[in-house]
C-alpha cells in the first residue's frame, strides 16, 4: 500500500483553505519516554525536506503528487521494512498554499486509522501534533505520530501485518525523528537582493500582505505554537530630502501609532547603507525588524513570533543577516 492511498482521506480534508490561525495552544504533553535502548542505526537525512531519522533498515525514497481542489498536494518521504513491520515517515506539503487550521488537521488525522485506541496530543518543539494507536483498515496494528508544520504536516507510522507491533523498535524509530525546518536562498531580481527564508511555510505575497506598491513583499508563515513568520520587503523611496535616519524615525513613529512599542533599537551600517535593528512588542506578538535604507530603496527583513524568547534564537539572527544585494 502506498503512502498516498493510506492517507487519501487526510489529503482531502487537508485541502480546505481557510487562513491558518494560531492554534489554541493544546497542553504541551511530553512525548512518550524513550524506553528502548537498542544500538543506534545510521542517521538518514533528507535536508531538503528537513528530516533526520535513524531507521532500522536502509530506506527508500517515495514521492507522489495528489490533485486537490485548490492545487497539488505533494508527498515525499522514506520507507523501509523489517520482517512484517513497515516504517515510514513523510511530509505532506501544499506548495506554500494556505491550509486548514491546526485543530482541523489534528482532528482529521484520526481518520488515518480505521480504529483509534489511543489519541494523545504531542508536540515537537513548537509544532503541535497527535499520537495515535489502533488498527488500519486492513486490521494491522499501527502506531503513528502526526505533526502540523508550515503549509502541511508530517506523518511517521509503524505498522505490522501479522501480530503485535515490536514496540521497542517502533519507539526507537519515532524518537529518532527530528524535523528541521529547511531554509534556502530566495532571490528577488526585481529588487536586486537575496535573503535566506524558510521553505516549508505558507507563502504570502503582495496581495495577501496588502502591499501592491512594494517592489518586494513576501512572507513565509510557519505557524506552530509561536505562529512564527518571516517577511521580506523592499520599496522604492520618493525623492524627498529626508536622511535615512529621519526616514527610519518616521517609520518607527508610524509603528508606534499602530499600537506597537519599540522595546529596543540599535543603528547599523551595511555596505554603504544606513540601517537599524528594532525589537517591537504588540498586544499579541513580538517582532524583530532590520531596516536598510539606500539612496533609492528601503529594505526590511522582519521576523514575528508570539514570544520574545522565540525571536532571540539562531534562526532569526541568520535570517536578519542573510540579505545580500547586487
Amino acid at each position: 500500500m502506498t503512502a498516498k492511498s493510506r492517507f487519501g482521506v487526510l489529503l482531502l480534508l487537508a485541502s480546505s483553505c481557510t487562513h491558518a490561525r494560531p492554534p489554541q495552544a493544546p497542553a504541551a504533553h511530553a512525548p512518550p519516554v524513550l524506553a528502548h535502548t537498542a544500538a543506534q542505526s545510521p542517521l538518514f537525512e533528507l535536508p531538503a525536506l528537513g528530516l533526520e531519522v535513524r531507521p532500522p533498515a536502509p530506506m527508500d525514497l517515495f514521492e507522489s503528487d495528489s490533485p486537490l481542489p485548490d492545487g497539488m498536494m505533494h508527498t515525499q518521504g522514506v520507507a523501509c521494512s523489517v520482517g512484517t513491520q513497515d516504517y515510514f515517515v513523510a511530509r505532506y506539503f501544499r506548495g506554500a498554499r494556505d491550509r486548514a487550521k491546526d485543530e482541523v488537521l489534528l482532528e482529521n488525522a484520526k481518520h488515518a486509522l480505521a480504529v483509534v485506541s489511543r489519541a494523545t496530543p504531542i508536540k515537537m518543539g513548537e509544532w503541535p501534533g497527535i499520537e495515535l494507536e489502533g488498527k488500519t483498515k486492513n486490521q494491522h496494528d499501527a502506531w503513528l505520530r502526526f505533526y502540523v508544520v508550515g503549509d502541511g504536516f508530517w506523518i511517521a507510522q509503524v505498522e505490522r501485518s501479522d501480530g503485535a507491533l515490536d514496540r521497542g523498535a517502533a519507539r526507537a524509530f519515532f524518537d529518532s525523528i527530528v524535523l528541521r525546518q529547511p531554509w534556502s536562498v530566495h532571490a528577488f531580481p526585481e529588487a536586486h537582493f537575496s535573503a535566506l527564508m524558510p521553505d516549508g511555510g505558507v507563502r504570502l505575497g503582495k496581495k495577501e500582505l496588502n502591499a501592491a506598491d512594494f517592489t518586494v513583499a513576501e512572507a513565509s508563515w510557519l505557524g506552530g505554537s509561536e505562529t512564527r513568520a518571516y517577511f521580506v520587503w523592499a520599496i522604492p523611496l520618493d525623492e524627498g530630502s529626508l536622511t535615512p535616519d529621519e526616514r527610519m524615525d518616521r517609520g518607527l513613529e508610524a509603528l508606534n501609532r499602530d499600537g506597537n512599542r519599540v522595546v529596543w533599537q540599535a543603528p547599523l551600517a551595511f555596505d554603504d547603507a544606513r540601517g537599524r535593528d528594532v525589537l517591537l512588542e504588540s498586544k499579541k506578538s513580538w517582532t524583530r525588524v532590520r531596516f536598510l535604507v539606500t539612496a533609492s530603496n528601503l529594505y526590511m527583513l522582519q521576523a514575528a513570533a508570539r514570544t520574545k524568547d522565540d525571536l532571540l534564537d539562531e534562526a532569526v539572527l541568520r535570517f536578519l543577516t542573510s540579505i545580500r544585494w547586487y
Binding site: 536562498v185 532571490a187 526585481e190
Partner: protein, 928 residues
C-alpha cells in the same frame, strides 16, 4: 610516364619545395604558444581538491571547469549508464540552500543571465563547465561549491525518471558511431574496464537513495580538479576558492585498474540497424597525453586522407580514441565498395608505407600542422582551455598542457611518425568487428553478440566513506566587485593606392591564423551559375604539380572558396608559419592566365549537387523570399530548375572571357593571426595585387530594392505526422537600420524578444490567440544592401492565422514598451556574453571583419557590439519595434497557396506574388 610514377615524382617535387619553405618558416618563427594565458597558479586544498587558476584577460569572462575522475568505467555492475544519468541531472538538482529555479533568479538579481552548466561524461571523467562574466565569478563559485557539496539533496525518484530517457540515449549507441564502445571491446576484451562499456543498462532499477549516496561518495573534492581561466585576479580567486571549497567534505576515489588486454585477437560479428555494411580494425595504443598519443592523431589524419583517395568505401573513419588508462586506434570502412578484406589490405599497405618513411614528409607535416590549428581553434575558447587544463591535471600532466600539447603537434615530423607507427600499429589488429545491417536488430547491449559468454570487468564498489561533516553555517553568496569594461582587439585597416584593402587583427597565443579574401564581381551582368562554378574551378587549379586544394592541405591549411551573389570569397585557415606559402599558392592561382578547362565538367557536376542540397535546407530559403521581393536586382529569385539550367548552359568560353576582368577587380583581405603589423602587411602583399596594378574602381552594383509584401511559394504539403494538418513555413523579414550604426544596436536584442518563454511575451500572446508555440528561429540577416531581422517559423496550416495574429500583437506591445526590466537586462546580458565569446574566436573575428568591410566600417567597430549593446536603452528598443509591422516586412510563405491566402486574409494580408514549386517530398517534409 605511367600514372603512378608521375604522381610519385610530382609529390616528391612538391615535398622538396615545401620542406624548404617549412624550414624557412620555422627558422623565422618562434611561435608563442601561451594561448594568451598570462599566469598559472596551482594549489591543492586540504580536502584534496586540486585547483588551477589561470589569468587570461582577453575578455571580461571566466570559464570554470570541474573535472571529476568518475566516468562510465566506474559504473557499478548492472548499472551501466549511472555516470551518464548523474551527468544529466547534475545541472538541475536543487540543494538544501537553493531550489533549482533559484539559481537563475540569484544571478538575475546580480544582473547576469544564468546559463546552466554543461556536463560531459566520458569513460574516465565527468566534467562540469560554465562560463560567466568576470564580475559574477565569486557568485558562480558559491553556486558550484554548493552544488558540489549538496547536489545529492535534490535527487528524487522523479528527477531520476525524468532524466532516464536522455541517459539511456547517451549510453546506447549504434556500433558504427564514434562514441560506441564496440571498438574497445574488440581491441581490449571484456575484462578491461573499457571493454565492458557496451554491456546492457539496467538503469530503470536505480533507486534515488542509492544514486544520492553515489553522488556524495564519488563526486567530491578528492576526485575533482577545479580550473578557473579568464579575466580574474589570481589572489582574490584563490581566496574565494579556499573559503568556499576548502571546507567541503571529501573521500578519495580509486580509479579503475588498468587491466592488460588478452593477447588473442578478437573478431566480433554483429547485426545492427545501420544503413550499410561496416567493418573496423582496432589496436590498443598509447594512453591520453602519453608521448605517442599526439603522433597517433596525426597518423589518423594522414591515413584518413590516403584511404579516402583510394575510394574503397563510402566513408572512412580513422581515429585515435584517447583514454586515461589506454587508448584504441580505430580504422573503419563504412559501405565497402568491394570487400572489407580489400580495405584491410589497403590499410596495411598505408601503415607499412608510414612505418618505412615512404609517405612524403610534407604530407605528414601538413597533417600535423592542420591538427595543431584545429587545437588552436579549440583553445581560442575559454571553456576549451579550462577543459584541457582540467583533464591534464587529473592525469598528472600539470596545468600548462596547452603550450606543451601545441608544441608537441608542431614538432611532429616524418621520422617520428614512422617510429610511432612501428611501435603502436605495426602488428595485426588487436580486434576487428563487422556489422551486418538489419533493420530490426537491437541498438546496443549483449543482444549484439550471439552467445557471448566472456567474463566482464566489473567496477569494484567502494564502501560509503565517512565524509567529514561540514561545520558551521554555510557562507552567504559574496557581493560583487566593480563592473569590467571590454576592449576589443584592433589592428591596422589599410587601403592601398591601387584600391585593395587589408583589415587585420593581431591575435597571439594559438598556432592558427585565419584569412578571407574577397573579390567583388564586376557589375557586368553574368550567368547566375558563373560564380559557383568558378569557385569549384579555382580550388582545382594547378599548383606545383597538384591542385590548389591539395597543395594547401599539404601545408596544413584548410581552403574554402565560395561564389555567392556579391563576390568571390576565399577563406583560409592555416598554421601561422604556413600562411606565406599558402598565400603564394593562392596568388599563383589568382594570377593564372587560363582557367583549367579540363576540370570544367566536374566543377559543373559538383555545383549542381550543391544546388540540390541547398534546396533541402529548411531555414535558408528566406533568401528566395528576398529574391522575389527584389526582382530587378542581382538577388532576383531563380527557381531550382532555372538554377540547374543555368549551370548546364554555362560554357567554358564564358568563364574564360570573364576571368581577366575579375583579376583586375580590387581585393579585400581580412587577416587574423599572431603577427605584428609589419608581418601582416608583408603577408598581405603576397595576395593583394601589386602596388603597380592599375587603380581599380570598385564598381557599385545596381542598388537592390527589397519590396515589402507577401511572397507565396505554392506547394502542396503533406502533414509530417498522421492526423495533423499540413504544415507551412513562414519567414518574416523586417528591414533594419544599417549594421554597426547606433540605430542598429537594439536589433541585436530583438531575436531575444521573439522567444516564447518571456514574461508576458510572445508565449502569452500565443496562448491568448489559442495558438501553439511554433518551431521558430530568429536572427539578424546581413547583406550589402539592406539588413533584416528574420523570424522564421513552421506551423500546421490551421495555426498560421493565430500565430501571425499573436506575433502582430506581441510586436505592438513591444513597440509600446511592454517588456519586463529583467527580460531586457537578460537580453543585454546574453548578447553581451555571446559577442564577447565571438570576439575570442579567430573565425568569428574574420567574419566580423568581413562584415565591416562589406558595410564600410572599421574593424574594431565589428567587435565593439558587446559594448554598444550594453548601452541600448529600453526606449531605443521600443522605437525600433515600432517599425516591425507586417506592412513593412518581406514575408515568404511555403505552402498550399489557396489555404495560405485564406489565413493571410484574417490578419489583413494578401499575397503579392505566387510562384509554383514542385511538390514536397516526404524526406523534405520530415527534415522541416
Amino acid at each position: 610516364m605511367p600514372f603512378g610514377l608521375g604522381r610519385v615524382a610530382c609529390t616528391l617535387g612538391l615535398c622538396l619545395g615545401l620542406s624548404l619553405a617549412v624550414g624557412e618558416a620555422r627558422a623565422q618563427n618562434n611561435p608563442d604558444l601561451s594561448a594568451g594565458i598570462e599566469s598559472y597558479r596551482e594549489l591543492t586544498l586540504a580536502n584534496g581538491l586540486r585547483v588551477v587558476i589561470a589569468a587570461d584577460h582577453r575578455v571580461p569572462q571566466v570559464a570554470l571547469a570541474i573535472d571529476y575522475a568518475v566516468g562510465d568505467a566506474l559504473d557499478p555492475p548492472n548499472q551501466r549508464g549511472l555516470a551518464q544519468l548523474l551527468g544529466k541531472i547534475l545541472p538541475k538538482l536543487a540543494t538544501r540552500h537553493l531550489h533549482a529555479d533559484e539559481r537563475p533568479r540569484l544571478l538575475a538579481a546580480a544582473g547576469f543571465k544564468y546559463e546552466a552548466p554543461t556536463v560531459q561524461v566520458g569513460p574516465d571523467a565527468t566534467i562540469v563547465t560554465l562560463q560567466v562574466p568576470a564580475e559574477a565569478l565569486e557568485l558562480a563559485l558559491w553556486l558550484e561549491a554548493d552544488r558540489m557539496e549538496f547536489a545529492a539533496d535534490g535527487i528524487t525518484q522523479t528527477t531520476l525518471s525524468e532524466a532516464l530517457p536522455q541517459a539511456l540515449e547517451a549510453v546506447e549507441h549504434l556500433p558504427n558511431e564514434p562514441a560506441a564502445a564496440v571498438a574497445f571491446h574488440a581491441a581490449l576484451g571484456r575484462l578491461h574496464p573499457y571493454g565492458a562499456l557496451d554491456r546492457p543498462s539496467q538503469l530503470q532499477t536505480a533507486k534515488a537513495t542509492a544514486v544520492a549516496e553515489r553522488l556524495r561518495r564519488y563526486y567530491n573534492p578528492a576526485s575533482a580538479v577545479l580550473v578557473l581561466v579568464g579575466d580574474l585576479d589570481p589572489e582574490r580567486a584563490e581566496q574565494a576558492v579556499r573559503q568556499l571549497f576548502g571546507r567541503l567534505p571529501s573521500a578519495p576515489v580509486q580509479p579503475p585498474p588498468a587491466v592488460r588486454r588478452s593477447s588473442t585477437p578478437r573478431r566480433l560479428s554483429l547485426t545492427a540497424p545501420v544503413p550499410a555494411r561496416f567493418g573496423a580494425s582496432a589496436w590498443e595504443t598509447a594512453s591520453f597525453l602519453a608521448p605517442d598519443d599526439a603522433g597517433l592523431d596525426v597518423v589518423a589524419t594522414v591515413l584518413t586522407r590516403r584511404l579516402h583517395a583510394r575510394a574503397l568505401c563510402d566513408g572512412i573513419t580513422v581515429a585515435q580514441r584517447s583514454r586515461a588508462l589506454t587508448s584504441v586506434f580505430v580504422a573503419a570502412c563504412d559501405g565497402p565498395k568491394t570487400t572489407l578484406d580489400a580495405f584491410r589490405a589497403a590499410l596495411g599497405e598505408e601503415l607499412q608505407a608510414l612505418a618505412e618513411g615512404r609517405v612524403p614528409a610534407a604530407e605528414i607535416e601538413g597533417a600535423a600542422l592542420y591538427y595543431a590549428a584545429v587545437l588552436g581553434d579549440r583553445y581560442d575558447d575559454l571553456l576549451g582551455r579550462a577543459q584541457a587544463i582540467a583533464s591534464s591535471v587529473r592525469l598528472g600532466q600539470g596545468a600548462q598542457i596547452i603550450p606543451k600539447l601545441l608544441a608537441r603537434y608542431l614538432a611532429i615530423d616524418a621520422a617520428q611518425l614512422a617510429a610511432i607507427v612501428r611501435r603502436q600499429l605495426l602488428r595485426p589488429a588487436d580486434g576487428t568487428f563487422e556489422i551486418t545491417p538489419l533493420a530490426s536488430a537491437p541498438r546496443a547491449g549483449d543482444a549484439y553478440f550471439t552467445g557471448a559468454s566472456e567474463p566482464m570487468f566489473q567496477a569494484r564498489a567502494e564502501p560509503p566513506a565517512l565524509l567529514d561533516a561540514p561545520s558551521g553555517d554555510w557562507p552567504r553568496p559574496p557581493a560583487n566587485g566593480a563592473p569590467h569594461r571590454f576592449h576589443p582587439p584592433t589592428g591596422p585597416s589599410d587601403t592601398l593606392a591601387n584600391g585593395d584593402q587589408l583589415r587585420f587583427m593581431e591575435r597571439f597565443g594559438t598556432p592558427v591564423s585565419h584569412a578571407r579574401l574577397q573579390i567583388p564581381w564586376p557589375a557586368a551582368a553574368q550567368s547566375p551559375a558563373l560564380g559557383l562554378v568558378l569557385a569549384e574551378l579555382l580550388s582545382k587549379s594547378p599548383v606545383a604539380g597538384t591542385t590548389l586544394e591539395e597543395a594547401l592541405r599539404l601545408l596544413g591549411a584548410d581552403l574554402k572558396i565560395r561564389g555567392p551573389v556579391d563576390e568571390l570569397e576565399i577563406t583560409l585557415t592555416a598554421p601561422p608559419s604556413r600562411m606565406a606559402p599558402a598565400f603564394d599558392a593562392l596568388s599563383s592561382v589568382l594570377a593564372q592566365k587560363q582557367l583549367p578547362s579540363a576540370a570544367f565538367d566536374a566543377a559543373k557536376t559538383s555545383t549542381a549537387d550543391w544546388i540540390t542540397k541547398k534546396d533541402d535546407d529548411p531555414w535558408t530559403w528566406y533568401w528566395d523570399a528576398l529574391g522575389l521581393s527584389a526582382p530587378k536586382s542581382r538577388y532576383r529569385y531563380l527557381s531550382p530548375p532555372a538554377r540547374k539550367l543555368a549551370v548546364e548552359q554555362l560554357k567554358m568560353s564564358e568563364l574564360s572571357r570573364f576571368w581577366p576582368t575579375l583579376q583586375r577587380q580590387p581585393r579585400a583581405l581580412e587577416l587574423v593571426g599572431p603577427y605584428d603589423n609589419a608581418t601582416a602587411r608583408s603577408l598581405a602583399a603576397r595576395v593583394l595585387r601589386p602596388a603597380s596594378a592599375p587603380v581599380a574602381r570598385r564598381l557599385a552594383p545596381n542598388h537592390a530594392l527589397f519590396h515589402a509584401g507577401v511572397y507565396v511559394f505554392d506547394r502542396a504539403s503533406e502533414p509530417s505526422e498522421p492526423n495533423q494538418a499540413a504544415s507551412v513555413s513562414v519567414c518574416v523579414l523586417w528591414p533594419l537600420p544599417g549594421w554597426a550604426t547606433p540605430a542598429h544596436y537594439p536589433a541585436h536584442l530583438l531575436p531575444w524578444f521573439l522567444r516564447p518563454e518571456l514574461t508576458d511575451g510572445l508565449g502569452a500572446r500565443l496562448a491568448e490567440h489559442g495558438a501553439r508555440t511554433p518551431y521558430w528561429q530568429s536572427n539578424t540577416v546581413l547583406n550589402q544592401e539592406q539588413d533584416f531581422l528574420r523570424y522564421s517559423l513552421r506551423v500546421p496550416i490551421d495555426q498560421l492565422a493565430p500565430v501571425l495574429e499573436s506575433l502582430k500583437a506581441h510586436l505592438a506591445r513591444l513597440a509600446e514598451g511592454h517588456f519586463s526590466p529583467s527580460d531586457f537586462a537578460n537580453a543585454i546580458a546574453v548578447e553581451r556574453q555571446f559577442q564577447m565569446r565571438q570576439s575570442l574566436s579567430g573565425q568569428a573575428m574574420i567574419a566580423a571583419l568581413a562584415r565591416a568591410a562589406a558595410h564600410d566600417k572599421q574593424g574594431d567597430e565589428a567587435l565593439d557590439i558587446a559594448l554598444q549593446v550594453e548601452r541600448v536603452s529600453p526606449k531605443a528598443l521600443s522605437e525600433l519595434a515600432q517599425h516591425l509591422t507586417f506592412d513593412r516586412a518581406t514575408i515568404g510563405v511555403i505552402g498550399p497557396a489557396a489555404r495560405v491566402n485564406e489565413a493571410l486574409k484574417t490578419v489583413g494580408l494578401q499575397a503579392t506574388t505566387v510562384v509554383q514549386l514542385a511538390p514536397e517530398t516526404a524526406h523534405e517534409g520530415a527534415a522541416r
